[in-house]
Protein backbone atom coordinates (compact mmCIF):
# COMPACT_ATOMS: atom_id res chain seq x y z
CA UNK A 1 0.00 0.00 0.00
CA UNK A 2 1.34 3.40 -0.93
CA UNK A 3 -0.24 6.22 1.02
CA UNK A 4 0.34 9.90 0.51
CA UNK A 5 2.72 10.74 3.37
CA UNK A 6 1.45 14.33 3.59
CA UNK A 7 -1.81 14.87 5.47
CA UNK A 8 -4.55 14.41 2.88
CA UNK A 9 -7.66 16.12 4.16
CA UNK A 10 -7.18 19.24 6.24
CA UNK A 11 -10.66 20.59 6.92
CA UNK A 12 -11.57 23.12 9.58
CA UNK A 13 -14.78 24.93 8.69
CA UNK A 14 -18.10 26.14 9.98
CA UNK A 15 -20.96 25.05 7.71
CA UNK A 16 -24.43 26.56 7.61
CA UNK A 17 -27.52 24.51 6.93
CA UNK A 18 -30.69 26.46 7.39
CA UNK A 19 -30.47 28.18 10.76
CA UNK A 20 -27.96 25.70 12.16
CA UNK A 21 -24.19 26.01 12.16
CA UNK A 22 -21.93 22.96 12.18
CA UNK A 23 -18.27 23.19 13.05
CA UNK A 24 -16.43 20.42 11.19
CA UNK A 25 -12.80 19.41 11.77
CA UNK A 26 -11.10 16.65 9.82
CA UNK A 27 -7.39 15.96 9.77
CA UNK A 28 -6.97 12.84 7.68
CA UNK A 29 -3.82 10.90 7.04
CA UNK A 30 -3.39 9.08 3.75
CA UNK A 31 -5.75 6.42 2.54
CA UNK A 32 -9.39 6.34 3.50
CA UNK A 33 -10.88 8.74 6.02
CA UNK A 34 -14.40 7.93 7.15
CA UNK A 35 -16.87 10.46 8.46
CA UNK A 36 -19.36 8.76 10.73
CA UNK A 37 -22.16 9.96 12.92
CA UNK A 38 -25.93 10.27 13.08
CA UNK A 39 -27.72 11.77 10.11
CA UNK A 40 -28.39 15.49 10.04
CA UNK A 41 -25.00 16.40 11.46
CA UNK A 42 -23.58 17.77 8.22
CA UNK A 43 -21.65 14.80 6.78
CA UNK A 44 -22.92 15.30 3.23
CA UNK A 45 -22.54 19.08 3.67
CA UNK A 46 -18.89 18.48 4.48
CA UNK A 47 -18.38 16.57 1.22
CA UNK A 48 -20.25 19.32 -0.67
CA UNK A 49 -17.97 21.92 0.91
CA UNK A 50 -14.84 20.00 -0.12
CA UNK A 51 -16.22 19.65 -3.67
CA UNK A 52 -17.01 23.37 -3.83
CA UNK A 53 -20.78 22.97 -3.98
CA UNK A 54 -21.37 24.54 -0.56
CA UNK A 55 -19.53 27.61 0.68
CA UNK A 56 -18.52 27.38 4.35
CA UNK A 57 -19.18 30.36 6.61
CA UNK A 58 -15.56 30.38 7.69
CA UNK A 59 -12.43 28.28 7.95
CA UNK A 60 -10.26 26.49 5.41
CA UNK A 61 -10.15 23.31 3.32
CA UNK A 62 -6.98 21.84 1.87
CA UNK A 63 -6.38 18.44 0.29
CA UNK A 64 -2.87 17.04 -0.13
CA UNK A 65 -1.39 20.48 0.50
CA UNK A 66 -3.55 22.26 -2.12
CA UNK A 67 -5.75 24.97 -0.62
CA UNK A 68 -9.28 24.73 -2.03
CA UNK A 69 -10.95 27.19 0.31
CA UNK A 70 -9.65 29.71 2.80
CA UNK A 71 -12.06 32.35 4.04
CA UNK A 72 -9.30 34.44 5.63
CA UNK A 73 -7.23 34.54 2.42
CA UNK A 74 -10.23 34.91 0.11
CA UNK A 75 -9.54 31.62 -1.69
CA UNK A 76 -12.55 29.71 -3.06
CA UNK A 77 -11.80 27.53 -6.07
CA UNK A 78 -14.87 26.78 -8.21
CA UNK A 79 -15.90 23.09 -8.26
CA UNK A 80 -14.50 22.49 -11.76
CA UNK A 81 -10.98 23.45 -10.62
CA UNK A 82 -10.89 21.27 -7.50
CA UNK A 83 -10.46 17.91 -9.26
CA UNK A 84 -12.74 16.15 -6.81
CA UNK A 85 -13.95 12.71 -7.78
CA UNK A 86 -17.33 12.95 -6.11
CA UNK A 87 -19.48 9.81 -5.97
CA UNK A 88 -22.85 11.16 -4.88
CA UNK A 89 -25.21 9.16 -2.72
CA UNK A 90 -27.87 9.60 -5.41
CA UNK A 91 -25.23 8.88 -8.10
CA UNK A 92 -26.46 11.59 -10.51
CA UNK A 93 -25.67 9.82 -13.75
CA UNK A 94 -26.59 11.92 -16.78
CA UNK A 95 -29.85 10.45 -18.14
CA UNK A 96 -29.33 11.83 -21.65
CA UNK A 97 -25.96 10.14 -22.13
CA UNK A 98 -24.93 6.52 -22.60
CA UNK A 99 -22.87 4.79 -19.93
CA UNK A 100 -19.74 5.35 -22.03
CA UNK A 101 -20.46 9.07 -22.41
CA UNK A 102 -21.19 9.31 -18.68
CA UNK A 103 -17.84 7.68 -17.93
CA UNK A 104 -16.03 10.01 -20.33
CA UNK A 105 -17.82 13.21 -19.24
CA UNK A 106 -15.08 14.33 -16.85
CA UNK A 107 -12.31 12.72 -18.91
CA UNK A 108 -13.20 14.95 -21.86
CA UNK A 109 -13.07 18.05 -19.67
CA UNK A 110 -9.77 17.07 -18.07
CA UNK A 111 -6.43 18.50 -19.15
CA UNK A 112 -4.47 15.86 -21.13
CA UNK A 113 -1.91 15.38 -18.35
CA UNK A 114 -4.71 14.48 -15.93
CA UNK A 115 -6.06 11.75 -18.23
CA UNK A 116 -4.09 9.10 -16.43
CA UNK A 117 -6.68 6.37 -16.94
CA UNK A 118 -8.34 5.01 -20.07
CA UNK A 119 -11.95 4.03 -20.53
CA UNK A 120 -11.11 0.36 -21.20
CA UNK A 121 -8.94 0.19 -18.10
CA UNK A 122 -11.60 1.59 -15.79
CA UNK A 123 -14.42 -0.38 -17.41
CA UNK A 124 -12.41 -3.57 -16.93
CA UNK A 125 -11.48 -2.68 -13.35
CA UNK A 126 -15.11 -2.04 -12.41
CA UNK A 127 -16.50 -4.88 -14.52
CA UNK A 128 -18.82 -2.60 -16.50
CA UNK A 129 -17.46 -3.10 -20.03
CA UNK A 130 -20.66 -4.86 -21.23
CA UNK A 131 -22.77 -1.87 -20.14
CA UNK A 132 -21.08 0.88 -22.17
CA UNK A 133 -23.79 1.30 -24.82
CA UNK A 134 -26.68 1.34 -22.34
CA UNK A 135 -28.55 4.26 -20.81
CA UNK A 136 -28.37 4.87 -17.04
CA UNK A 137 -32.07 4.14 -16.44
CA UNK A 138 -31.58 0.54 -17.61
CA UNK A 139 -28.90 -0.19 -15.00
CA UNK A 140 -29.34 -2.01 -11.69
CA UNK A 141 -28.39 -0.19 -8.48
CA UNK A 142 -25.04 -1.94 -8.25
CA UNK A 143 -24.23 -1.30 -11.92
CA UNK A 144 -25.13 2.38 -11.64
CA UNK A 145 -22.97 2.65 -8.52
CA UNK A 146 -19.94 1.28 -10.37
CA UNK A 147 -20.57 3.59 -13.34
CA UNK A 148 -20.67 6.57 -10.96
CA UNK A 149 -17.37 5.47 -9.40
CA UNK A 150 -15.86 4.99 -12.86
CA UNK A 151 -17.00 8.44 -13.99
CA UNK A 152 -15.30 9.99 -10.95
CA UNK A 153 -12.08 8.00 -11.48
CA UNK A 154 -11.85 8.92 -15.18
CA UNK A 155 -12.17 12.64 -14.48
CA UNK A 156 -8.57 12.63 -13.25
CA UNK A 157 -9.33 13.41 -9.60
CA UNK A 158 -6.74 14.36 -6.97
CA UNK A 159 -8.97 12.81 -4.30
CA UNK A 160 -12.27 10.93 -3.99
CA UNK A 161 -15.41 11.89 -2.07
CA UNK A 162 -17.89 9.06 -1.51
CA UNK A 163 -21.27 9.66 0.09
CA UNK A 164 -22.73 6.51 1.66
CA UNK A 165 -21.43 4.21 -1.07
CA UNK A 166 -23.00 1.16 0.54
CA UNK A 167 -26.56 2.13 1.42
CA UNK A 168 -28.14 1.59 -1.99
CA UNK A 169 -26.79 -1.94 -2.19
CA UNK A 170 -27.92 -5.33 -0.98
CA UNK A 171 -25.56 -7.12 1.46
CA UNK A 172 -24.02 -9.32 -1.23
CA UNK A 173 -23.11 -6.27 -3.31
CA UNK A 174 -21.72 -4.41 -0.30
CA UNK A 175 -18.84 -6.82 0.09
CA UNK A 176 -17.96 -6.23 -3.54
CA UNK A 177 -18.00 -2.44 -3.23
CA UNK A 178 -15.98 -2.52 0.01
CA UNK A 179 -13.34 -4.58 -1.75
CA UNK A 180 -13.54 -2.22 -4.73
CA UNK A 181 -12.95 0.91 -2.63
CA UNK A 182 -9.95 -0.76 -0.97
CA UNK A 183 -8.60 -1.64 -4.43
CA UNK A 184 -9.10 1.94 -5.64
CA UNK A 185 -7.14 3.24 -2.67
CA UNK A 186 -4.30 0.83 -3.32
CA UNK A 187 -4.26 0.94 -7.12
CA UNK A 188 -4.65 4.69 -7.65
CA UNK A 189 -3.15 6.06 -4.39
CA UNK A 190 -6.02 8.52 -4.06
CA UNK A 191 -7.01 9.92 -0.69
CA UNK A 192 -10.64 9.06 -0.04
CA UNK A 193 -13.09 10.90 2.19
CA UNK A 194 -16.07 8.66 2.78
CA UNK A 195 -19.35 9.23 4.57
CA UNK A 196 -21.23 6.42 6.24
CA UNK A 197 -23.53 5.78 9.12
CA UNK A 198 -22.81 2.08 9.06
CA UNK A 199 -20.03 2.05 11.62
CA UNK A 200 -18.96 -1.57 11.37
CA UNK A 201 -18.55 -1.64 7.62
CA UNK A 202 -16.55 1.55 7.26
CA UNK A 203 -14.46 0.80 10.32
CA UNK A 204 -13.05 -2.20 8.48
CA UNK A 205 -12.30 -0.06 5.46
CA UNK A 206 -11.06 3.20 6.89
CA UNK A 207 -7.53 4.16 7.85
CA UNK A 208 -8.95 6.95 10.01
CA UNK A 209 -12.44 7.49 11.43
CA UNK A 210 -13.73 10.95 12.26
CA UNK A 211 -16.88 11.29 14.36
CA UNK A 212 -19.18 14.15 13.51
Amino acid sequence: MSFDPAPSFDIDVVLARGQLEFPVRVAGGGGITALVGPSGQGKTSTLDAVAGLLRPLSGHIAVGGTVLFDAARGIDLPPERRAAGYVFQDLRLFPHLSVADNLLFGWRQAAPERRTLALDEVAGFLDIAPLLARRPHTLSGGEAQRVAIGRALLSGPRFLLMDEPLTALDPARREGVIALIARIRDAFALPVLLVSHQQDEVARLADAVVEI
Partner: protein
Protein backbone atom coordinates in the same frame (compact mmCIF):
# COMPACT_ATOMS: atom_id res chain seq x y z
CA UNK B 1 -57.85 17.96 -49.92
CA UNK B 2 -57.05 19.89 -53.07
CA UNK B 3 -56.34 23.59 -52.88
CA UNK B 4 -56.28 26.15 -55.69
CA UNK B 5 -52.98 27.80 -56.60
CA UNK B 6 -54.08 30.91 -54.76
CA UNK B 7 -54.98 28.92 -51.66
CA UNK B 8 -51.61 27.13 -51.74
CA UNK B 9 -50.03 30.59 -51.91
CA UNK B 10 -51.85 31.55 -48.72
CA UNK B 11 -50.68 28.39 -46.95
CA UNK B 12 -47.10 28.91 -48.17
CA UNK B 13 -47.09 32.54 -47.02
CA UNK B 14 -48.46 31.51 -43.62
CA UNK B 15 -45.72 28.91 -43.27
CA UNK B 16 -43.06 31.47 -44.24
CA UNK B 17 -44.37 34.13 -41.85
CA UNK B 18 -44.69 31.69 -38.93
CA UNK B 19 -41.39 29.96 -39.63
CA UNK B 20 -39.43 33.21 -39.74
CA UNK B 21 -41.29 34.49 -36.68
CA UNK B 22 -40.47 31.43 -34.57
CA UNK B 23 -36.85 31.00 -35.63
CA UNK B 24 -36.28 34.70 -35.08
CA UNK B 25 -37.88 34.89 -31.66
CA UNK B 26 -36.61 31.54 -30.31
CA UNK B 27 -33.31 32.90 -28.89
CA UNK B 28 -35.18 35.71 -27.16
CA UNK B 29 -37.78 33.26 -25.82
CA UNK B 30 -35.00 31.04 -24.45
CA UNK B 31 -33.18 33.96 -22.84
CA UNK B 32 -36.39 35.16 -21.19
CA UNK B 33 -37.31 31.64 -20.05
CA UNK B 34 -33.82 31.19 -18.59
CA UNK B 35 -33.96 34.52 -16.76
CA UNK B 36 -37.41 33.71 -15.36
CA UNK B 37 -36.54 30.13 -14.39
CA UNK B 38 -33.10 30.73 -12.92
CA UNK B 39 -32.66 34.46 -12.38
CA UNK B 40 -32.93 36.07 -8.96
CA UNK B 41 -33.08 39.73 -9.80
CA UNK B 42 -35.10 42.80 -9.05
CA UNK B 43 -38.04 43.20 -11.42
CA UNK B 44 -38.42 39.49 -12.20
CA UNK B 45 -42.15 39.64 -11.50
CA UNK B 46 -42.45 42.69 -13.74
CA UNK B 47 -40.60 40.92 -16.56
CA UNK B 48 -42.85 37.89 -16.10
CA UNK B 49 -45.93 40.09 -16.44
CA UNK B 50 -44.50 41.88 -19.48
CA UNK B 51 -43.76 38.58 -21.26
CA UNK B 52 -47.32 37.42 -20.63
CA UNK B 53 -48.89 40.66 -21.82
CA UNK B 54 -49.58 39.45 -25.40
CA UNK B 55 -51.49 36.52 -23.91
CA UNK B 56 -53.95 38.72 -22.03
CA UNK B 57 -54.13 41.95 -24.04
CA UNK B 58 -56.58 42.18 -26.93
CA UNK B 59 -54.46 41.36 -30.02
CA UNK B 60 -55.72 44.52 -31.67
CA UNK B 61 -53.98 46.53 -28.94
CA UNK B 62 -50.67 44.79 -29.68
CA UNK B 63 -51.22 45.52 -33.38
CA UNK B 64 -51.90 49.16 -32.64
CA UNK B 65 -48.76 49.42 -30.46
CA UNK B 66 -46.70 47.95 -33.30
CA UNK B 67 -48.31 50.37 -35.72
CA UNK B 68 -47.39 53.33 -33.53
CA UNK B 69 -43.84 52.11 -32.99
CA UNK B 70 -43.08 51.01 -36.54
CA UNK B 71 -44.89 53.64 -38.57
CA UNK B 72 -42.50 55.72 -40.72
CA UNK B 73 -42.73 58.52 -38.17
CA UNK B 74 -42.75 56.17 -35.17
CA UNK B 75 -39.73 55.80 -32.85
CA UNK B 76 -38.53 52.45 -34.23
CA UNK B 77 -39.95 52.85 -37.75
CA UNK B 78 -38.14 56.15 -38.37
CA UNK B 79 -34.88 54.64 -37.16
CA UNK B 80 -35.25 51.52 -39.38
CA UNK B 81 -36.01 53.70 -42.39
CA UNK B 82 -33.10 56.05 -41.84
CA UNK B 83 -30.51 53.35 -41.17
CA UNK B 84 -31.59 50.48 -43.42
CA UNK B 85 -34.22 51.96 -45.71
CA UNK B 86 -36.72 49.29 -44.68
CA UNK B 87 -40.17 49.36 -43.21
CA UNK B 88 -42.18 46.52 -41.70
CA UNK B 89 -45.46 48.26 -42.33
CA UNK B 90 -47.71 46.36 -44.80
CA UNK B 91 -44.91 43.82 -45.34
CA UNK B 92 -44.81 40.09 -44.60
CA UNK B 93 -41.89 40.83 -42.28
CA UNK B 94 -44.28 42.94 -40.21
CA UNK B 95 -46.68 40.00 -40.10
CA UNK B 96 -43.81 37.84 -38.87
CA UNK B 97 -43.02 40.37 -36.12
CA UNK B 98 -46.65 40.44 -34.97
CA UNK B 99 -46.79 36.64 -35.02
CA UNK B 100 -43.54 36.41 -33.05
CA UNK B 101 -44.76 38.75 -30.32
CA UNK B 102 -48.07 36.92 -29.99
CA UNK B 103 -46.29 33.53 -29.84
CA UNK B 104 -43.66 34.65 -27.33
CA UNK B 105 -45.57 33.99 -24.07
CA UNK B 106 -46.48 30.41 -25.04
CA UNK B 107 -42.90 29.66 -26.07
CA UNK B 108 -41.45 31.16 -22.89
CA UNK B 109 -43.85 29.09 -20.77
CA UNK B 110 -42.97 25.80 -22.47
CA UNK B 111 -39.22 26.44 -22.36
CA UNK B 112 -39.37 27.67 -18.78
CA UNK B 113 -41.16 24.50 -17.65
CA UNK B 114 -38.50 22.35 -19.29
CA UNK B 115 -35.70 24.39 -17.70
CA UNK B 116 -37.30 24.06 -14.29
CA UNK B 117 -37.48 20.30 -14.85
CA UNK B 118 -33.70 20.09 -15.25
CA UNK B 119 -32.31 18.65 -12.02
CA UNK B 120 -29.75 21.12 -10.60
CA UNK B 121 -28.00 18.20 -8.92
CA UNK B 122 -26.95 16.98 -12.37
CA UNK B 123 -25.44 20.39 -13.09
CA UNK B 124 -23.57 20.20 -9.78
CA UNK B 125 -22.26 16.78 -10.78
CA UNK B 126 -21.03 18.23 -14.08
CA UNK B 127 -19.19 20.99 -12.22
CA UNK B 128 -17.37 18.51 -9.96
CA UNK B 129 -16.36 16.61 -13.11
CA UNK B 130 -14.47 19.64 -14.37
CA UNK B 131 -17.09 21.38 -16.50
CA UNK B 132 -17.27 25.14 -16.00
CA UNK B 133 -20.59 26.99 -16.05
CA UNK B 134 -20.63 27.24 -19.89
CA UNK B 135 -19.62 23.65 -20.52
CA UNK B 136 -22.25 22.57 -18.00
CA UNK B 137 -24.86 24.60 -19.84
CA UNK B 138 -23.97 23.15 -23.28
CA UNK B 139 -23.42 19.55 -22.21
CA UNK B 140 -26.09 19.10 -19.50
CA UNK B 141 -28.68 21.87 -19.22
CA UNK B 142 -29.35 22.44 -22.91
CA UNK B 143 -29.57 18.76 -23.97
CA UNK B 144 -31.86 18.01 -21.02
CA UNK B 145 -34.31 20.78 -21.92
CA UNK B 146 -34.00 20.42 -25.72
CA UNK B 147 -37.33 18.59 -26.08
CA UNK B 148 -39.01 21.46 -24.23
CA UNK B 149 -37.41 23.99 -26.55
CA UNK B 150 -38.65 22.10 -29.61
CA UNK B 151 -42.09 21.74 -28.02
CA UNK B 152 -42.17 25.48 -27.34
CA UNK B 153 -41.19 26.21 -30.93
CA UNK B 154 -43.88 23.91 -32.33
CA UNK B 155 -46.49 25.43 -30.05
CA UNK B 156 -45.38 28.93 -31.01
CA UNK B 157 -45.53 27.97 -34.69
CA UNK B 158 -49.14 26.85 -34.27
CA UNK B 159 -50.00 30.06 -32.43
CA UNK B 160 -48.35 32.10 -35.21
CA UNK B 161 -50.36 30.32 -37.90
CA UNK B 162 -53.54 31.44 -36.17
CA UNK B 163 -52.47 35.02 -35.50
CA UNK B 164 -55.16 37.45 -36.71
CA UNK B 165 -55.88 40.60 -34.69
CA UNK B 166 -52.41 42.06 -34.27
CA UNK B 167 -51.52 41.17 -37.87
CA UNK B 168 -54.50 42.76 -39.59
CA UNK B 169 -54.12 45.88 -37.43
CA UNK B 170 -50.41 46.25 -38.05
CA UNK B 171 -49.87 45.14 -41.66
CA UNK B 172 -53.41 45.00 -43.04
CA UNK B 173 -54.76 42.21 -45.24
CA UNK B 174 -52.82 42.29 -48.52
CA UNK B 175 -53.09 39.17 -50.72
CA UNK B 176 -49.65 37.72 -51.47
CA UNK B 177 -47.90 39.94 -48.93
CA UNK B 178 -49.62 39.84 -45.53
CA UNK B 179 -52.68 37.68 -46.17
CA UNK B 180 -51.99 34.65 -44.00
CA UNK B 181 -54.40 31.75 -43.45
CA UNK B 182 -56.77 33.38 -40.92
CA UNK B 183 -56.80 36.64 -42.87
CA UNK B 184 -57.62 34.78 -46.10
CA UNK B 185 -60.48 32.97 -44.35
CA UNK B 186 -61.74 36.31 -43.05
CA UNK B 187 -61.51 37.83 -46.56
CA UNK B 188 -63.32 34.87 -48.11
CA UNK B 189 -66.10 35.18 -45.57
CA UNK B 190 -66.77 38.70 -46.86
CA UNK B 191 -67.40 37.37 -50.38
CA UNK B 192 -70.72 35.58 -51.02
CA UNK B 193 -70.38 32.12 -52.50
CA UNK B 194 -66.85 31.34 -51.30
CA UNK B 195 -67.97 28.74 -48.74
CA UNK B 196 -65.82 26.08 -50.40
CA UNK B 197 -62.69 28.21 -50.04
CA UNK B 198 -63.46 28.90 -46.38
CA UNK B 199 -64.03 25.20 -45.75
CA UNK B 200 -60.76 24.16 -47.38
CA UNK B 201 -58.67 26.83 -45.63
CA UNK B 202 -60.34 26.13 -42.28
CA UNK B 203 -59.60 22.44 -42.79
CA UNK B 204 -55.92 23.22 -43.32
CA UNK B 205 -55.90 25.39 -40.18
CA UNK B 206 -57.43 22.64 -38.05
CA UNK B 207 -55.06 20.02 -39.45
CA UNK B 208 -51.91 22.07 -38.85
CA UNK B 209 -52.97 23.11 -35.33
CA UNK B 210 -53.82 19.59 -34.19
CA UNK B 211 -50.55 18.24 -35.59
CA UNK B 212 -48.55 20.94 -33.80
CA UNK B 213 -50.29 20.38 -30.46
CA UNK B 214 -49.83 16.62 -30.59
CA UNK B 215 -46.17 17.04 -31.58
CA UNK B 216 -45.38 19.45 -28.74
CA UNK B 217 -47.19 17.32 -26.18
CA UNK B 218 -45.31 14.18 -27.28
CA UNK B 219 -42.00 16.02 -27.09
CA UNK B 220 -42.74 17.31 -23.60
CA UNK B 221 -43.60 13.81 -22.42
CA UNK B 222 -40.41 12.43 -23.94
CA UNK B 223 -38.40 14.79 -21.79
CA UNK B 224 -40.13 14.79 -18.45
CA UNK B 225 -41.82 11.42 -18.31
CA UNK B 226 -44.55 11.72 -15.72
CA UNK B 227 -46.19 15.04 -15.09
CA UNK B 228 -44.65 16.95 -17.97
CA UNK B 229 -47.22 18.81 -20.00
CA UNK B 230 -47.26 21.76 -22.33
CA UNK B 231 -51.03 21.88 -22.49
Amino acid sequence: MLLSAQEWGVVALSAKVSGVAILGVLPLAFALAFALARGRFRGRVLLDALVHLPLVLPPVVIGWMLLVAFAPAGPIGAWLWRLFGVTLLFRWTGAALAAAIMALPLMVRAIRLSLEAVDPRLEQAARTLGAGPWATFWRVTLPLCAPGIVAGAVLGFARSLGEFGATITFVSNIPGETQTLPLAIYAALQVPGSDATVLRLAGVAVLLSVLALVASELLARRQGGKGAHVL
